[in-house]
Symmetry: C2
Subunit: 352 residues, 2 copies
DNA sequence: ATTAAAAATGCAAATGTTTTCATTTTTTGA
DNA sequence: TCAAAAAATGAAAACATTTGCATTTTTAAT
């Protein structure tokens, strides 16, 4: 089926022959240039250039068992949520001279085992996953092979695997607390299903904690489930808004918030005068929306870069002294989508 | 620096030993199961399971020179433009049992050579690039190694390399023509720099052709350059709108259009009553905007999938009979962001 | 100039598969 | 039941590199 072959590309031995040295020296030249004498170095450099030689990073994998490739498994690529993360992760990896193998499972955790198998077959040196909720199988497969695993995006002090991310409970808490401070008492929650989404689950719990409430105390249109999809969120929120308008809406993330904004616009409801909206994430574009979206910033880039560093560093991930866990601080960013309706409002203004 | 090694993972010979057959047979079992007898098949299957063996796809690369890996080089990952493409490309590749190596150069073509080198070192079987404008070096490097190259996203009947995509000239033409049909005469163009962006260049030319105009005939605030960035576009368009409001705005793509919408909203300008907006791309979310964005759909998914198929098929790309070029049809999708101000309007309505 | 130590290089084995060719086993047809 | 053909399997070479050990060359110290 496949074309015949792609042999004939010059290899280390052709270069060696042309340079008049042994293959071993050529190998050394590419791995530790300092160790080969200046003169031979030039010879090899020249020969390699003449022949148009490129190192074969793949062939070296057999030797030590490291492929120089790191896997990244995300729920979805095609969504603002992870785009920034992927970009940053990938380019940081590049600067470590590694490459990224990426795959998406579309929020269907059962696909992970197939993906992990495929990654294992490619002998990845490490894997970054999103969040903690994964099936046992893939995790065990990775553990059995001794492949370092890192859960990115969420932080829990008692996480079962090494992790790096924001404390999503706190993130949710901060968002809800802000709403409370601004005087909102009737707030609607719009979240994705939390079954296999620990980030959303933690945020939701943080929100409920700040609200000092229980999920069961929320009426059916004060808690709405929708996927991370602008359209789906928009429709669900339109429905809710028509039934019974809350004072504020707290969204599981900024794409849901965007749906909320569109929902209001399509109904002619003014933000923030008629209803306040707060998101979570601070995705690209959230700052430019009209009105600018008040949200809690998740530092995707920092998370991604540190994740890449960790995975490349090799060592620290499964450190001997236990599981590495890194908490990245998030930050409330106040813009225009939440109105201050608290009674202190004027007082505070005056004090300034 | 790196950890010692990851040897000790069971290999084909361990499996063979345990199953009581030769390594060659095990190899055959994984590549062409039909060719090995049912009984031995079971033996091997069992042994592999017992040992927790995973194929080593990397070791096989040396044999025939194919790594089962395809490269994808995009200007940027972190942007709605290519997210859908990447997602579709990646998952289609997976179904071909290949993996994707992706890298972004951030609209800086000079980074491509480094990326290509890195991909070559990983012995990719093929590469998909975006558009036609690339430096000579990377293209030559790929050609020298005989690596199939495919330009995705844009189509030109005289493209220098194989391509698959929409005819961006036509796309621009269709968009502008729609505006004309709707009676708009004073239209502003908001496009990204076209230096190393042939897609934008072609669209722009299509637009100008439909308008029967020349770039030089456009006053300074009827032609605006801005990068594909919501914020930058928004600011630029706000400025233009304040100076001198056109009847319609035609945007280089939907993210610019989104900036345009925000610009109008922040100025309290009604869309489409005060100004019409048309985008290009039909990205995720464009249909949900308020008002729904009229745009020209670029079928990212179809492009990506066919690109993957081509690159995996191996053959067709550098076909003997010349360069493979595939044109994917685009489609005007009319929503609410363009107002019909033509004089025929009422007549047409009545006729229906 | 001589010798010891250090640096640079080469040799050959090893890595985990695939693949060619040869050999053994099974099937088929009389 | 036997021979011939077909199918299945095995042995060993090949792939492109790295690496431990041995050897040669260079440097430094006397």
């Amino acid at each position: 089926m496949r074309a015949r072959s792609r042999k004939g590309a010059p290899g280390i031995v052709e270069v060696a022959k042309r340079a008049g040295v042994s293959p071993a020296t050529v190998s050394r030249f590419f791995n530790e240039p300092e160790i080969v004498k200046g003169k031979t170095r030039n010879l090899i450099e020249q020969a390699a250039r003449d022949l148009g030689y490129y190192r074969n990073r793949i062939a070296t994998t057999d030797q030590h068992g490291f492929s120089g490739t790191i896997g990244l498994i995300v729920p979805t690529i095609d969504n603002a949520i992870f785009a920034e993360l992927i970009q940053a992760f990938s380019s940081r990896l590049l600067s470590h001279d590694r490459t990224m193998l990426i795959a998406a499972h579309g929020y269907n955790p059962s696909l992970e085992v197939g993906i992990v198998k495929s990654l294992l077959e490619r002998r990845i040196d490490g894997v970054a996953l999103i969040g903690f909720e994964h099936e046992k199988a893939p995790l065990e497969m990775l553990a059995a092979r001794g492949v370092p695993v890192l859960a990115a995006w969420n932080y829990r002090k008692d996480s079962p695997i090494p992790c790096i991310g924001a404390d999503n409970f706190q993130v949710g808490f901060v968002a809800a607390q802000h709403l409370m401070k601004m005087g909102h008492r009737d707030v609607a929650l719009v979240f994705p299903p939390t079954q296999s989404n620990d980030r959303a689950e933690d945020r939701l719990n943080g929100v409920l904690h700040a609200l000092d409430m229980d999920l069961s105390q929320l009426s059916h249109n004060r808690f709405i489930e929708t996927r991370y999809d602008i359209g789906e969120a928009k429709q669900a929120i339109i429905k809710m808004l028509c039934e019974n308008r809350p004072s504020a809406i707290i969204c599981g993330n900024d794409v849901i918030a965007q749906g909320a904004v569109y929902a209001c616009q399509s109904l002619g409801i003014n933000i923030p005068d008629d209803v306040s909206i707060i998101g979570i994430g601070d995705f690209r574009g959230s700052s430019q929306m009209e009105p600018g979206l008040t949200t809690v910033r998740m530092p995707a880039q920092r998370i991604a870069e540190q994740a890449a560093d960790l995975l490349c560093g090799g060592l620290s991930v499964t450190s001997v002294k236990g599981i590495t866990r890194i908490k990245i601080e998030s930050e409330l960013v106040v813009r225009k989508s939440v109105k201050d309706i608290s009674s202190h409002k004027n007082t505070e203004r005056l004090l300034r």
